[in-house]
Symmetry: C2
């Protein structure tokens, strides 16, 4: 199996393209392969077992494309599958590969944004139920109070193109009110789902100006740059051609390309792959 | 393999429980097994190939439970998988079994509801794109004009408990306006998705009173009763114990039971099954 190759970027669907956009902008020199498991998305409500099974199949497919390093650009997969992959799956068969998520890099810095030391985390039901953000953030910022809020309708609103239309206002307000009712002193909101940056303007407009709304793309990109600097043995395995290839597990690649245009600045033309079995 | 047994009722998730409720009410004497493929739901946006693959796996699992007859209580599966199952899969291996959908029984009678001979069909993106309703209805009512409208946010709204709250009004109105803009003379709306009966009151309230809003549950139940009368060779294979067993492909059966309570009058306690491979 190839050991040198592109950086793999995985998401359950297309939301990870917001993170990939930030990574590719900051580190344009590397080759990249993006894989979206659209056949089986969304992951948000699925169980630990299912999310691990699906994510690991996709990661193995990226390894077979030669990726020495895979980024899970998906909060649900980072919350529910990453630990098992890092602690068990990689050790068993892929000791020289690395898989990184989006939660830890975000947790490492999010506390620096807050003066009140009270922050809100907005995510899918699965991400919130996992409690991963609270746990990881408190490792780095033990005194920070972390309030969580599930926003289950935001992904369907965004994927159906309603994120910049008035019908989304009710649901932006609904979940923000529920979050702020937990503590009026929250001064920082983390968008802990890769889709949510598309609602960022409406979220900010619905809040007092002093509350900061923070997306993950740039945080994850800078964390990756830092990781590669600290790990030259990994950095030298990553090929440098500036290519970007996109794959999806759905055979409706046209739909993928069309929806991708909401999330990614460049035109996308995805290939269809089967990662199962 | 068992050849006598319960009636199998399949849906991609829990929406099919609205149809099952009507069937079990009209024909309480039979045994039933309900299977929801919640691990892989929703099917609405998936492709023909994927929907056929998933549906056929579930149908075979129901056959293994002894079901001589399976109802696809799912519009997406009926639109995209039923034909291949009836014309190819059953002939290859299960010539004595029958699989019926929800589209044909609805198509056989829906024209009788309309005076203007213009009806609207509301469904998921997948059901609408398949064109199955238009095709089937025009077989029985060649002069009927059929207008279609995809309502992609209604299922997420319903599954997240927003169907009886004000946030759903905007999206009820949005899709109804788009449908009625196609023809102001539409006098009958078919709810061609098993979830939609939960929005029926709000849909009716948003429309002029003379427009009829028709669900599928009772239509499908009466069609099944009629089918069993016309096919005594099938009817005698169906066991009569009045039992109802529920299974789901997700290992979070508690969530299934909880959401099922929105769709089904009786308490549900589902078992977890793996139908894959």
């Amino acid at each position: 199996m190839l050991t040198n190759g592109p950086i793999g970027v995985f998401d359950s669907g297309i939301g990870g393209l917001t993170v990939f956009g930030s990574i590719a902008k900051l580190l344009p020199q590397y080759d990249y392969v993006y894989l979206g498991d659209n056949k089986r998305s969304p992951y948000g409500d699925r169980t630990f077992n299912t999310i691990h099974e699906y994510t690991w199949e996709c990661v193995q497919w990226l390894f077979k494309q030669g990726c020495p390093l895979v980024i899970l650009a998906c909060n649900t997969a980072s919350a529910k599958a990453l630990r098992t992959i890092q602690q068990k799956d990689l050790k068993d068969d892929y000791a020289d590969r690395r898989v990184l998520g989006v939660i830890r890099p975000t947790a490492e810095v999010i506390g620096d944004y807050s003066s009140s030391k009270k922050i809100g985390v907005l995510g899918t039901a699965g991400t919130v139920q996992s409690g991963s953000y609270k746990l990881e953030i408190n490792k780095f910022f033990p005194d920070l109070k972390v309030y969580q809020q599930a926003c289950p309708l935001w992904v369907p609103l965004i994927e159906n193109g309603e994120y910049n239309k008035p019908g989304s206002d009710y649901f932006v307000r609904l979940y923000l009110d529920e979050l702020m009712a937990q503590s009026p002193d929250i001064d920082t909101l983390l968008l802990a789902c890769t889709h949510y940056p598309l609602l960022q303007d409406r979220i900010q407009a619905a809040l007092p100006q002093h509350i900061k709304v923070v997306g993950q793309g740039e945080i994850v990109a800078h964390s990756l740059a830092d990781y590669l600097q600290r790990h030259p043995e990994m950095e030298t395995k990553i090929t440098r051609g500036g290519t970007r290839n996109f794959f999806t597990t759905t055979d409706d690649t046209e739909q993928f390309d069309k929806t991708a245009s909401i999330f990614f600045p460049d035109a996308v033309k995805a290939g269809f792959v089967n990662v199962e079995g």
